[in-house]
Symmetry: C2
Subunit: 83 residues, 2 copies
């Protein structure tokens, strides 16, 4: 099994009300100089290693994890070192 | 301004219904060998650089971005290279 981290964020130009809400709240709490807040998702999962791993991860992202119409995603695979 | 990335995830032992839902959906869609799905948040923001940056980011995380009772968070600061 490998650890997969998927990072999902809204595409440029897509309204991010959650990000706006966080930005306003931070300002209201007295944190000055905070801009461009964007709230995305960070999904961690363990996936069976082997042939076609990248293709499988891409398919999972496109089909379920992200919405490719409005979201960008990237992922990284972490293999545990075997000593 | 520096780019700050905050990564938030539920603590071990806290029920993650969203993660479970994603795991079941992936299995239902035919993706075998997927385990331990955990859905967290990835918040990006721009913050004024300067003294006490780490303290300010930590305060924002503790006070608003994360719920320290049930969530762990980490962050990284990205400074744009000036040529």
């Amino acid at each position: 099994m490998v650890n997969v981290h998927v990072y999902i964020t809204l595409k440029e130009g897509v309204l991010d009300p959650q990000g706006k809400a966080v930005e306003h709240s931070l300002t209201a709490l007295g944190y000055e100089g905070v801009e461009e807040v964007n709230v995305g998702k960070w999904i961690q999962l363990k996936v069976e290693d082997g042939e076609g791993l990248d293709a499988r991860i891409t398919a999972m992202c496109e089909q379920l994890l992200a919405n490719p119409v409005i979201e960008n995603y990237s992922y990284k695979v972490e293999r545990e070192a075997t000593v």
